[in-house]
């Protein structure tokens, strides 16, 4: 597959140009209108042509700010467009993440793309269909009500010979109409007044259409950001200290004089990088370059325990009170029995398999950037700020990187590449090394959660007081990226809150408080403990805490944990229904925990947990085996129930759920960022293990489809209940409560001895 960059400007101006799809649609070349005379006015959401174009051959090109992160979301969005326009799926081509041509629909994140971006594209398509029918009505001399559309061909009902194709209706020309659009990014409402198709008529939405990006990913033809090459391109590597970023006091360039092919040591502000003719020369030079760094002003904590103490003892800068009702003090004073527990969640890595990569070509006051950022416009603006040029001078072209489970360093590496390209005046490709990726991955924040609960004499929960103390995301919109920070840019805020879901607000208790507190974290400068959103941000820790505690109360009251939960799951029938369906599929039989079933040294148990993440309901039943002599936990099976409203692509959704389950098991059992005063200490896959084939559990999935509902997110909700379900299964097997993630053999053994 050839990679060729064609701007929308070229695309619309050109005569019969072959658009070679950069990645999404494999080799499906798209022929655009001949001599259309179209000009560019993209990006204004109130112009229909900003959203899509229909060429003479009927190909629909969609210009979207949403990007494929490996979840299949672009395939699903194309389904939504094909459905609404009544064209076959293969006719839809997604031109994605190009800041010169796309509407800014906000970042692709938080499993909200189908929920928010989907309706935007659906309504733009509905507006296009309405306009096409209007044109057809005139051409076919028939009222719109008498028209029908089959695969992009409009015909008169009852007179099938009277027909005209979309491509012929427009003749390769623009729509030239305005539509209603208000709001920005995720919250943008597009053409809300235009009726869209009834779900009962769906033919494409709801089908397991194979993903358009996958075939080339199995052959080497798919072009990732790591594969972008441009003529005259050089290779760069960034050089950073092991702990917090400080000033380079001296750089000894003689230390790399024996490495052939070094072009330049780039030193700007506190940023240091090496540019070379070849990638290997850049790697060797970056490793060999002797830099004396100033003593860091930020001291790394001595280890995770120090961070948990800090979380416990530091005043929050923002309290997000999710619910606060009744009178907790009175309820606790009247409680027959009280429960109190603390839960610990460590820093964890996004841990993408391919370190981030970008190619930058900075020429004068203009820049072209290819990278895998979740927010093409966000990164464009950051680079414009760094280079001190207007945003329109930066053209960012999205190219998929390695899997994204939150904010990636594709943004940071793009800045590195931009600085190096500007310094040498040539295009430069920069990829981080594994140790860079492990160290500078903006970590999923550490969290410290406490649950207090009280029951009356009958064992009913009458008081629930939940508090999460979490670090914020220091790498949020208001704050500079790594290189910008090294260039002296200062953060403008404390960062973004790490979510507030999962603190037990799914349950209806008479006296109930759920609070997510944000604890200030280092803002000035950058260090390996910088933080950002990691898949289902914060919810894993909160659900681990709340669902462990509810389980603990149920066990203490000798009530089956499923039945106990159902008593209080009264606010939403979707959540109780998915919980029951999941338990049924898992063969759940009512009995209190712990079951303490064991044979020889192996104890076995089951655990259940339920969650609501952004209105997607999930429930999990975990079956585990615990070695009573070593404390080793093996997850044998996870049964996962999932209700995200209307399902757009069932197999694509299952793929996401399977991945969430496996990543969830990995994060529960294995993952913790380690550090001491010298810096982060686990900088490779041996010291930061993730799940491997021999640790993979059996998986069973229960999908509830609600076609009458809007589609909701499926990219991350199913990871949320996994940790809690495993913890509850460990309790069922051993009678021991594990309250600190990950559940290493040492921690499980120590809980069993407690």
């Amino acid at each position: 597959m050839e990679t060729k960059t064609i701007s929308r400007r070229d695309l619309l101006k050109s005569t019969g140009v072959m658009i070679v799809g950069f990645s999404f649609f494999g080799s499906a070349a798209k022929v655009l209108a001949q001599g259309s005379g179209l000009s560019v006015d993209g990006m204004d959401p109130t112009v229909l042509d900003s959203w899509l174009a229909i060429s003479k051959d009927g190909t629909v090109t969609v210009f979207t700010g949403k990007v494929e992160l490996g979840t299949g979301v672009v395939t699903a969005l194309a389904q939504i467009v094909a459905e609404e326009l009544d064209v076959s799926f293969s006719k839809v081509y997604m031109d994605s993440g190009d800041t010169d041509t796309a509407v800014d629909q906000g970042v692709t994140a938080a499993a909200r793309t189908i929920e928010r971006g989907g309706p935007q594209l659906r309504q733009a398509s509905a507006a296009a269909r309405q306009e096409l029918l209007k044109l057809a009505s005139a051409r076919l001399d028939s009222p719109v009500e008498k028209l029908t559309v089959t695969d992009g061909v409009v015909s008169v009902i009852g007179s099938p010979a009277k027909k005209i194709a979309y491509g012929d209706l427009l003749g390769g020309k623009k729509f030239n109409i305005k539509i209603v659009a208000s709001g920005v990014g995720w919250d943008m409402k597009v053409a809300p007044e235009i009726p869209s198709k009834n779900y009962k008529d769906y033919k494409v939405v709801g089908q397991s259409i194979p993903r358009v990006d996958l075939p080339g990913k199995f052959t080497g033809e798919f072009v990732y950001s790591q594969d972008v090459t441009v003529p005259g391109m050089l290779h760069g590597r960034s050089v950073r200290p092991a702990t917090s970023l400080s000033a380079p006091l001296s750089i000894d360039e003689s230390s790399i004089k024996n490495i052939p092919g070094v072009v330049r040591v780039v030193h700007e502000g506190n940023f240091v990088g090496v540019v070379a003719q070849t990638e290997w020369a850049a790697i060797q030079a970056a490793r060999a370059l002797k830099v004396t760094w100033a003593e860091p002003t930020l001291k790394m904590p001595s280890g995770p325990d120090e961070v948990f103490d800090y979380l416990k003892n530091t005043k929050s800068f923002k309290d997000n009170v999710v619910t606060n009702k009744g009178n907790l003090d009175t309820a606790f004073s009247q409680a027959h029995k009280k429960y109190e527990a603390t839960y610990y969640w460590p820093f964890q890595l996004h841990g993408m398999i391919g370190p981030p990569c970008a190619v930058a070509d900075v020429q004068g006051d203009k820049a072209t950037i290819w990278t895998g950022t979740q927010g093409p416009f966000r990164t464009r603006d950051a680079i414009a700020l760094l280079l001190k040029v207007p945003p329109k001078n930066v053209h960012l072209l999205y190219r998929e990187g390695s899997g994204s489970y939150g904010r990636l360093e594709s943004d940071d590496v793009a800045e590195d590449a931009a600085l190096m390209s500007r310094a040498v005046g040539k295009p430069v490709r920069v990829q981080w090394m594994r140790e860079d990726e492990h160290a500078w991955d903006p970590k999923g924040p550490a969290q410290y959660s406490t649950v207090r609960a009280g029951v009356d004499a009958q064992g009913n929960v009458i008081a629930w007081d939940y508090m999460d103390r979490s670090l914020p995301w220091t790498e949020s919109e208001a704050n500079p990226l790594l290189a910008s920070s090294q260039m002296g840019m200062k953060p403008s805020g404390p960062g973004f809150l790490n979510g507030a879901g999962g603190g037990g607000q799914i349950y209806t208790f008479e006296n109930q408080k759920v609070l997510a507190a944000s604890i200030p974290w280092v803002q000035q400068g950058e260090w390996p403990l910088r933080t950002s959103n990691l898949r289902a941000p914060g919810d894993l820790a909160r659900v681990f805490a709340s669902e462990s505690s509810i389980d603990e109360i149920a066990a203490d009251q000798h009530v089956d944990p499923l039945q106990f939960r159902l008593r209080y799951l009264t606010s939403d029938k979707r959540i109780s229904e998915i919980l029951v369906a999941t338990a049924k599929q898992a063969g759940w039989t009512a009995r209190p925990a712990p079951g303490l079933s064991s044979s020889g040294t192996k104890a076995t148990g089951r655990g259940i947990a339920v969650a609501n993440r952004a209105n997607t309901m999930t429930a999990a039943v975990a079956e585990v085996e615990v070695d009573k002599t070593t404390g080793e936990v093996i997850v044998k099976k996870i049964t996962l129930g999932h209700d995200c409203g209307l399902i757009v692509n069932p197999n694509g959704l299952k793929n996401q759920i399977e991945g969430n389950i496996l990543q969830g098991v990995s994060r529960a059992l294995l993952e913790e960022v380690q550090f001491d005063s010298t810096g982060q200490t686990n900088l490779d896959w041996n010291s930061y293990p993730v799940i491997r084939f021999e640790q993979v559990p059996e998986v069973e999935i229960v999908l509830t489809n609600r076609p009458e509902m809007q589609p909701l997110g499926g990219g991350e909700p199913s990871i949320v209940p996994i940790t809690a379900a495993i913890a509850n299964a460990i309790f069922d097997a051993t009678g021991a409560r594990v309250r600190r993630v990950p559940f290493t053999p040492e921690r499980v053994l120590s809980a069993m001895k407690a």
């Binding site: 490996g70 052959t219 391919g354 041996n686 084939f693």
Partner: protein
Amino acid sequence: MARISLKVNGKSRAVETDPSTPLLYVLRDDLGLHGPRFGCGLGQCGACTVLVDGNSMRSCMIPASSVQNKSIVTLEGLGTVAHPHAIQAAFVEEQAAQCGFCMNGMVMGAKALLDKNPHPNVEEIKKSLNSYICRCGTHLRVIRAIQRVANSTVKA
């Protein structure tokens, strides 16, 4: 710099390079073969896997100059989207990827396994691929894809 001759996907190729250059960078940057990928440079993840004389090897760990007289097969040597190898076709059938960045290792690891053991059971597949890391969690689909090939009569 030295002239290095390699036999890649059945073709003889010559490049001028620093002889210490790991095979991975020669394949990707000099020969334009992007199937093998940089994941860790430490031989830990498997994303850079190629076959050298039929054995799976981590191309980030071996100097290009050390494999001059050997037969190297990359992901591109198996098949294309238009004409996929049976393993690649099975991976598509099972939709066995998400981001797909690790898939070079999965497909090449499967090829090395199936060449030696055409009908592996699930335990053998898990054991054989245990040194390949996938972060998206597509392991179950990869296993199903390999089973699909193992259970078919098409030669892998």
